[in-house]
C-alpha cells in the first residue's frame, strides 16, 4: 500500500485530533512514521544537503534521511557577488532539491523547525514532529541586528541590505546599484570576524567596482572594515583595487559601524558618519537560530563547539553540527561545509553501526574570489585533525594565488559547477 500526499496529510490531521487527548506524548502528529534507523538533517545549504546525500550514498541507502529546509530552492552564496558585477543572474545560482529525493531517496520536508528535544530525540515543526536516531544541524549563520542600532530584518530586506545569504537581497542590491546615479557612493560595512566567507566582502568590493568601471565610472566603493586589516587574500585584493579600479576603491580599517540611519543611508562609526547612495551592512554573525533551540551555541553564545572526529555537539550527544555554525579554526566557506558534512556523514554511519569513526579526518578548502569579470584569486589549505589540540589544524603548504588570472577565473566557474553537482545531483 502506498501513501499519496493526500493520505499523508489526512493522517497528519487525525494525529492532531488524537494528540488533543491528555496523556499522550505529543500534541502533534508524527510527520513521517519512524521505522528503521533515521537521521534528520536540519538545513539544506552546502553542509546539510551534502550530509543528507552522503549518508544515503555511503550507507547504501540503509539509513533513512529526512532533510528539512525552509526555502523552496537552493541558491548558492559562493559566486553570488558576481550577480552584483553582472556576470551571473540569481537564476544561474539556483538549483532544485528534487534530485536528492529522486536519486538518493532523501525525504524532503519544506518547513521550519520550531523546537528540538534532545532527550526525546524529536524535532518539532509547525505542523507536526519527527523522531530521529541522530540529528544533523546545519543552520548556517544568522545576523545580530541588535549590534547595529537602526538595523533589523525588515530594513535589510527593503533598504540597507546585507545580501549575505544569496537570494532576494542579492537581487535588490543589484537593483540599487543599477538605480544609483554615476558619481554615487557604494559603502560596505564588514563586521569583526569570525563571519561567513572571510574574503567575500573584498570580492564584493571588486564586483561592484567592476560594475561601476563599465557603467558608472565616476562612482566610488567605500569599505568600512571593523577589523584592523584585510582579513583574507590581502595582497591580491589591494593589487586588484589599485590595478583594475584605480582611485575608485577606498579601504578604511578599524571602522566598526554601530548605527545606521535608514532614511539618509548613513552609517555611523566611532569616528565619523558615512553617507552612501547604496549602503550594504553585514551585521555581526552567529550560528543560525536552529542552534539556539537546543542550546548548541556554547562558544561565546555564538558558535557551536563540536568533536572534530564526528561533528557531534559538545552540548548534546546525538546532535551533530556542521558548516558555518561550527566554532573552529576553519574558514566559513561552502567547500568547508561540504567537507565537514562528509566527515560527519561517515562518522554518523559508523556510530549507527557501532563502528569507530575515522580517527584522522583530513579535509581541503579551495576558495575562489572573482576580482573582475573574468579573473579570480584563490586561497587553499589542507586541514588535519590534531590529537593534542583536539582541533582541525592547517597543514603545511597552503596559500594564495601568485597573482590574479583568467585561468583561475575559469577554474572558479568550474569549481561552482562541480561543487553544486556534488551537493545536489
Amino acid at each position: 500500500m502506498s501513501f499519496s500526499r493526500r493520505d499523508f496529510l489526512k493522517a497528519g490531521a487525525a494525529g492532531i485530533v488524537i494528540g488533543a487527548f491528555p496523556g499522550l506524548a505529543f500534541a502533534s502528529s508524527e510527520l513521517i512514521k519512524k521505522k528503521g534507523q533515521r537521521v534528520v538533517v536540519v538545513g539544506g545549504g552546502f553542509g546539510g544537503a551534502t550530509a543528507a546525500k552522503y549518508i544515503r550514498k555511503w550507507s547504501n541507502n540503509k539509513i533513512e534521511v529526512v532533510l528539512i529546509e525552509r526555502n523552496p530552492m537552493f541558491i548558492s552564496c559562493p559566486m553570488s557577488n558576481t550577480v552584483l558585477g553582472g556576470g551571473r543572474t540569481i537564476d544561474d545560482l539556483t538549483m532544485s532539491y528534487t534530485e536528492l529525493k529522486k536519486k538518493y531517496g532523501i525525504k524532503l520536508i519544506k518547513g521550519e523547525v520550531t523546537a528540538i528535544d534532545p532527550e526525546k530525540q524529536t524535532v518539532m515543526l509547525a505542523d507536526g514532529h519527527l523522531k530521529y536516531d541522530r540529528l544533523i544541524v546545519s543552520p548556517g549563520v544568522d545576523f545580530m541586528y541588535d549590534k547595529v542600532e537602526g538595523l533589523n530584518e525588515s530594513v535589510a530586506n527593503t533598504s540597507i541590505t546585507h545580501a549575505w545569504k544569496a537570494g532576494a537581497q542579492t537581487v535588490l542590491l543589484r537593483k540599487q546599484l543599477e538605480a544609483m546615479p554615476d558619481g554615487g557612493v557604494f559603502a560596505i560595512s564588514i563586521p569583526k570576524g569570525p563571519y561567513r566567507c572571510p574574503p567575500g566582502p573584498y570580492e564584493r568590493a571588486c564586483q561592484v567596482a567592476h560594475y561601476f568601471k563599465n557603467n558608472k565610472p565616476k562612482s566610488k566603493v567605500l569599505i568600512l572594515d571593523a577589523n584592523p586589516d584585510i582579513v583574507s587574500k590581502k595582497g591580491l585584493f589591494t593589487a586588484a583595487w589599485n590595478d583594475l579600479y584605480p582611485g575608485m576603491v577606498e579601504y578604511r580599517p578599524n571602522a566598526l559601524v554601530t548605527k545606521v540611519d535608514v532614511a539618509s543611508k548613513t552609517a555611523k562609526t566611532e569616528f565619523d558618519d558615512v553617507k552612501a547612495d547604496v549602503l550594504n551592512v553585514l551585521p555581526p554573525m552567529k550560528a543560525g537560530a536552529v542552534a539556539d533551540m537546543a542550546g548548541l551555541a556554547n562558544v561565546d553564545g555564538r558558535w557551536c563547539g563540536v568533536d572534530f572526529l564526528t561533528y557531534e555537539s559538545k552540548v548534546h550527544k546525538g546532535i551533530h553540527v556542521i558548516g558555518d555554525a561550527v566554532s573552529a579554526a576553519l574558514p566559513k566557506s561552502g567547500h568547508m561545509a561540504t567537507s565537514q558534512a562528509k566527515v560527519c556523514a561517515a562518522a554518523v554511519i559508523e556510530l549507527m553501526q557501532d563502528k569507530q569513526p575515522d580517527q584522522n579526518p583530513t579535509i581541503a578548502n579551495t576558495c575562489y574570489s572573482m576580482v573582475s569579470g573574468n579573473e579570480a584569486v584563490h586561497v587553499a589549505n589542507v586541514y588535519r585533525f590534531n590529537v593534542e589540540k583536539q582541533a582541525m589544524v592547517a597543514a603545511e603548504g597552503g596559500g594564495v594565488s601568485a597573482k590574479r588570472s583568467e585561468l583561475e577565473g575559469a577554474f572558479a566557474g568550474y569549481w561552482l559547477k562541480n561543487i553544486l553537482n556534488d551537493v545536489l545531483l
Binding site: N381, A395, E396, G397, G398, F411
Partner: protein, 101 residues
C-alpha cells in the same frame, strides 16, 4: 623468511575483516574533500581533470610533481604539500577504482 611471510598472511586474514573496511573508508573520506573541484568520485564536469579511473601510478607521480614544484600549478602545488606520500597512495587507490562516467 617463509615463516615471516606466513605470519603476515595469517595476520592479514585475521585483521582484514575489521581493519580493511576502515582503511577503505579513510581513503574514501580523504578523496571526498576533492570533489568540490574534481566532481563526485572524481567525475569532474569540466575544467578540472577527471580523477575517476585515473592510473594509480600516474596519480601518485602527478601529486609528487605538484609537491616538488616539478609540475607548475595554480593551486595543486599548495594542496599537494598538505598531504603525505602515504595519502597520495590511498587517494590514488580510491580514485583509480572509481568508474569514469
Amino acid at each position: 623468511m617463509i615463516m615471516h611471510r606466513t605470519l603476515l598472511v595469517v595476520s592479514g586474514i585475521l585483521f582484514c575483516t575489521v581493519v580493511h573496511a576502515e582503511v577503505d573508508n579513510h581513503a574514501r573520506n580523504l578523496a571526498a574533500s576533492c570533489y568540490a573541484c574534481h566532481g563526485t568520485d572524481g567525475n569532474s564536469e569540466g575544467g578540472m581533470p577527471v580523477l575517476a579511473g585515473l592510473d594509480k601510478a600516474l596519480f601518485v607521480t602527478q601529486m609528487k610533481d605538484f609537491k616538488s614544484g616539478a609540475r607548475p600549478a595554480t593551486v595543486m602545488h599548495q594542496h599537494a604539500k598538505g598531504y603525505t606520500d602515504e595519502e597520495f597512495e590511498l587517494l590514488a587507490g580510491y580514485f583509480s577504482a572509481q568508474k569514469r562516467h
